[in-house]
């Protein structure tokens, strides 16, 4: 395996671990995989920059959630990027059913050291808002 192939496989592992952190609603597990200057972008909303603000945003999304499970449709990398195509399932009211099944693509960019420094999400914001999703703006 070449050095580049090794890095791509490692990056895919880091991104899978980051998304696992969402399933477990563990903000610190997620943030440990990100750089201090990390940028989180929910297209087309304003970018959220820096670990402190991203932590605050992710924690505020986790707060109302009772259960989360991200179904991975596709995960693969190239260079320093990893694409994830997902169905993000959310239970906001604890009824044991998914009130939201958000179809979403997330593009991740990682440093040489394997930390996430940019995360760009693409999905329909109206679907998010009308299916129980909390505010995604600071």
């Amino acid at each position: 395996m070449s050095d580049l192939q090794w890095k791509i496989a490692r990056n895919e592992d880091v991104v899978r671990a980051f998304l696992k952190g969402w399933d477990e609603r563990d903000v610190e597990a997620c943030m440990a995989l990100c750089t201090d200057d990390m940028c989180y972008l929910n297209q087309p909303l304003a970018a959220i920059r820096g670990k402190a603000k991203v932590r605050q945003m992710i924690a505020s999304i986790f707060a109302p959630a009772k259960k989360v499970e991200f179904k991975l449709v596709n995960v693969f990398g190239s260079g320093n990027k990893v694409i994830t195509e997902r169905v993000d399932q959310w239970d906001w009211n604890g009824s044991g059913t998914w009130q939201m099944a958000l179809k979403v693509c997330g593009m991740f960019e990682l440093t040489d050291a394997g930390k996430i420094y940019e995360w760009r999400e693409y999905y329909d914001n109206e679907y998010w808002r009308t299916h129980g999703g909390p505010s995604l703006e600071m």
Binding site: Q43, F76, I83, C105, M107, Y122, D124
Partner: protein, 137 residues
């Protein structure tokens, strides 16, 4: 073909498809797609098959003065190709009225035709800036 060659062929086909959009040429675009193509603008209902997808694709092109899909990322694995794009649309000849951040995920069949196309973007942004219908009425 090796796995790398298949990915290369698939990426080439997706780029050809994007070129067809920029040329506003529905025939070339549709020739990139399989007979059983499934086109989904998430979270809208799937549009299935050449005839129905052509209606949507040709319909959008007809209402477009000029379009440019800036590729931010384009790479593949297996039979999938991802495109991360900024789709710039000029619907009225007055410049880019819409710059839509978008990810398109493509699946290709064994013959190298696109058989799955799933676009992810903010639908409100599309419709509020002049985008036309994305489903069959």
């Amino acid at each position: 073909m090796t796995r790398d060659q298949i990915v290369e062929r698939n990426v080439f086909k997706v780029r050809l498809f994007i070129d067809a959009w920029e040329a506003l040429d529905p025939d070339v675009a549709m020739a990139c797609l399989s007979e059983d193509i499934v086109y989904i603008n998430q979270p809208l209902a799937p549009v299935v098959g050449q005839r129905d997808v052509r209606q949507i694709v040709a319909g959008i092109m007809k209402l477009t003065h000029k379009v440019r899909w800036e590729l931010r990322s384009c790479f593949g694995r297996g039979n999938s190709v991802v495109t991360e794009r900024l789709d710039c649309w000029d619907f009225d000849g007055k410049g880019w009225g819409l710059k839509l951040p978008c990810i398109g995920m493509f699946d290709l069949d064994e013959a190298g035709k696109i058989c799955g196309w799933r676009d992810y973007f903010d639908n409100r942004m599309w419709f509020d800036h002049g985008g036309s219908t994305l489903h069959l009425d």
